[in-house]
C-alpha cells in the first residue's frame, strides 16, 4: 500500500518544524496542509479535537498528535537515519532534555521576552540557568545527537533561529551574550545543515509576527 503522509502545520510555529525536519532527514515524502490558527480547518478540529493544535501527522489516515510523540512515532515507523540513541539511558536522557525544553526553557525565554521590570530580570536569570544546562548537555559534541543531528537537536532546534528573532525584537541578549559558546556554535552548525536551512520560515516575516505578539502580550499585562 502506498504511504500517505500529511502534516498539518503553520508557516511559523516551531513545533511542526520539528516534524518537517524529521521527515526530511528520513527522506519521507509528505504533503503539507497549512493551517491558519485564527481560522482552524474542520479537518484539524476533527483530527485533534482535544488540543486543536498543530502539528498533526496523518499517516495512512491515522492522526498522531503532539510533536515529541510524533517524533517518536516517525522514529519507530521509519528506521532509516535513526534520530534516537539505541542505548536506553541515552534515550531517557534525550527524552528528559526534550521535555525540559518544552516545559522549562521555552516558557522561560518567552517570559523573558514578554515580561517587564523586575519580573523580566528574574525571567532572564532563569533563562541563563536553563541555558547553562543545555550548554552542558552538548558535552563538547557538534550536535546533541553526537556527530549527526538527532531527536534532541530537533527538540532544541527552534533556538537556532527564534532566539535571535526574539533578541532583535526585544533588545535582550540571551545567547548572543557569548556566555554559552558551545550552544552558540551548535546553533550555527544546526542552522547551516542543509535539511534544516531550507526549512526556516522567512526571518523578516518572523520579526513582524513576534513583534506583534510581544506587543500584544505586554499591552495586556501592563499596569493600568
Amino acid at each position: 500500500m502506498a504511504e500517505e503522509v500529511k502534516l498539518f502545520r503553520t508557516w511559523s510555529s516551531p513545533f511542526p518544524l520539528r516534524i518537517v525536519w524529521a521527515l526530511k532527514l528520513k527522506g519521507i515524502e509528505y504533503e503539507t496542509i497549512l493551517e491558519d490558527l485564527q481560522n482552524k480547518s474542520s479537518l484539524l478540529l476533527q483530527y485533534n479535537p482535544v488540543h486543536k493544535k498543530v502539528p498533526v501527522l496523518l499517516h495512512n489516515g491515522k492522526p498522531i498528535l503532539e510533536s515529541l510523540v510524533i517524533l517518536e512515532y516517525i522514529e519507530e515507523t521509519w528506521k532509516q537515519h535513526p534520530l534516537l540513541p539505541e542505548d536506553p539511558f541515552e534515550k531517557a536522557t534525550a527524552r528528559f532534555w526534550a521535555r525540559f525544553n518544552d516545559e522549562e526553557l521555552l516558557p522561560s525565554i518567552w517570559n523573558a521576552s514578554t515580561k517587564q521590570g523586575k519580573e523580566q530580570e528574574e525571567a532572564i536569570v532563569q533563562v541563563e540557568e536553563n541555558l547553562k544546562y543545555v550548554e552542558e548537555e552538548l558535552k563538547g559534541n557538534v550536535f546533541f545527537g553526537g556527530e549527526t543531528i538527532g531527536y534532541l537537536d530537533l527538540a532544541f532546534g527552534w533556538l537556532a533561529n527564534l532566539v535571535s528573532v526574539l533578541e532583535e525584537v526585544t533588545g535582550l541578549s540571551l545567547t548572543a551574550s557569548g556566555k554559552f559558546p558551545l550552544l552558540s556554535a551548535w546553533m550555527q552548525n544546526f542552522s547551516d545543515a542543509p535539511v534544516i536551512k531550507e526549512c526556516w520560515p522567512p526571518r523578516d516575516k518572523l520579526i513582524i509576527r513576534y513583534q506583534a505578539m510581544i506587543e500584544k502580550y505586554t499591552a495586556v499585562a501592563a499596569p493600568k
Binding site: 512515532y73 536506553p88 525540559f100 522549562e104 544546562y133
Partner: protein, 281 residues
C-alpha cells in the same frame, strides 16, 4: 543483578513514584526503595535530580533517570525479558504516549485543583467540570485502546494504565475529602471497572496506598504545623500496610524490595502540594 543495583528515590504517597514501582514490579526487578522525608528534600535528592529536585529518581548502577514517564519507558527499554509495558505497534504507542501526556499536562492538574487549590464554589465547580470532561475523554480512549481487554494495554496493564492508574488513590481521597463524586459509574462505567482491575493487579496492589492513609497524609500536610510524631512511628519500616485493610499484602519482608526505615512522614511544616512539594514529578 543485586537489589542495590537499582534504587528508587521516592515516597509512598506519591502517584509519580508509584508509576516507577509498578513498572519495576511488572518486570520483577529487585530494587531498594529509598524514602524521602515528606516536606524536605534530602541532599541525595538534590544531587540526583538537580534540575527539578523532585521524586521519583531511579538510580541504576551509577545512572540517574528522572521524570516518572521517562522512567517507565526506561524500565521497559532495559528489562526486555519481562512483559512489555508499551504496546508493540508504533501507532498504539503514540496513542498511549499522547494520553499519558494529556493526563499529566491537563487532567491531573485539574484534579489537584479540587483537592488543594480551589476555594469558593465557582472555582471548585469549574475544576469539577474539567475533571469530568477529562474522564469522558479517557473513557472513550479506554474503549479504543483496550480492544476488549480489561486494561488500556489490553489483556495486561501497560503504559497508559500506569499513567492514569497511579492517581486512583488520590481520586478517592479527593472524592472523600471534597465530598464529590469524580469517577462516576453512570458516566464512566468502563473506567470504573478498569479501576477495580487495575488496583487488584499483582504489580499494583502492594504499592497502591490505602485511601485512609492518603487522607491522613493529606490532612497532615494541608492543615496544621502540629507534630504527628506519635502516630507516625506506626509507619516505621513500611508497616503502613499492616495497619490498613487486609486486602493489602504485607510484603515488607518480600525478597523483592528492601525499604529504608521510613522516617516520620509528617513534615514539620505542612505545605500544600504546589511547586516546592517533592511529591510532584
Amino acid at each position: 543483578m543485586s537489589t542495590t543495583d537499582v534504587k528508587l528515590l521516592g515516597g509512598w504517597p506519591s502517584p509519580f513514584v508509584m508509576r516507577a514501582r509498578i513498572a519495576l514490579n511488572i518486570k520483577s526487578v529487585d530494587y531498594q526503595f529509598l524514602q524521602e522525608k515528606l516536606g524536605e528534600k534530602s541532599e541525595r535528592l538534590l544531587k540526583s535530580n538537580p534540575v527539578y529536585k523532585k521524586i521519583p529518581v531511579v538510580i541504576h548502577a551509577d545512572k540517574l533517570i528522572c521524570e516518572s514517564l521517562i522512567i517507565v519507558q526506561y524500565i521497559d527499554d532495559v528489562w526486555t525479558s519481562g512483559p512489555s509495558i508499551l504496546p508493540s505497534d508504533p501507532y498504539d504507542r503514540a496513542i498511549a504516549r499522547f494520553w499519558a501526556a494529556y493526563i499529566d499536562d491537563q487532567w491531573f492538574p485539574s484534579v489537584r485543583g479540587i483537592a488543594f487549590i480551589a476555594e469558593g464554589d465557582e472555582a471548585k465547580k469549574e475544576a469539577l467540570e474539567q475533571v469530568a470532561a477529562g474522564l469522558e475523554l479517557l473513557e472513550d480512549a479506554f474503549t479504543k485502546c483496550s480492544k476488549g481487554g480489561n486494561f488500556f494495554g489490553g489483556e495486561r496493564i501497560g503504559y497508559l494504565d500506569i499513567a492514569l492508574g497511579c492517581f486512583l488513590a488520590w481520586l478517592r481521597v479527593t472524592e472523600k475529602l471534597g465530598n464529590v463524586k469524580l469517577l462516576d459509574e453512570a458516566k464512566a462505567p468502563n473506567l470504573c471497572k478498569w479501576a477495580e482491575c487495575f488496583c487488584s493487579d499483582a504489580a499494583v496492589k502492594d504499592v497502591m496506598p490505602e485511601t485512609d492513609w492518603l487522607s491522613l497524609n493529606h490532612n497532615i500536610r494541608k492543615t496544621s504545623r502540629k507534630s504527628f510524631r506519635t502516630q507516625s512511628t506506626s509507619f516505621h519500616n513500611g508497616n503502613i500496610r499492616s495497619l490498613s485493610s487486609p486486602t493489602h499484602n504485607d510484603s515488607t519482608e518480600s525478597k523483592k524490595i528492601t525499604t529504608e526505615p521510613l522516617l516520620p512522614i509528617c513534615p514539620s511544616n505542612a505545605s500544600d502540594l504546589p511547586s516546592n512539594d517533592p511529591i510532584v514529578r
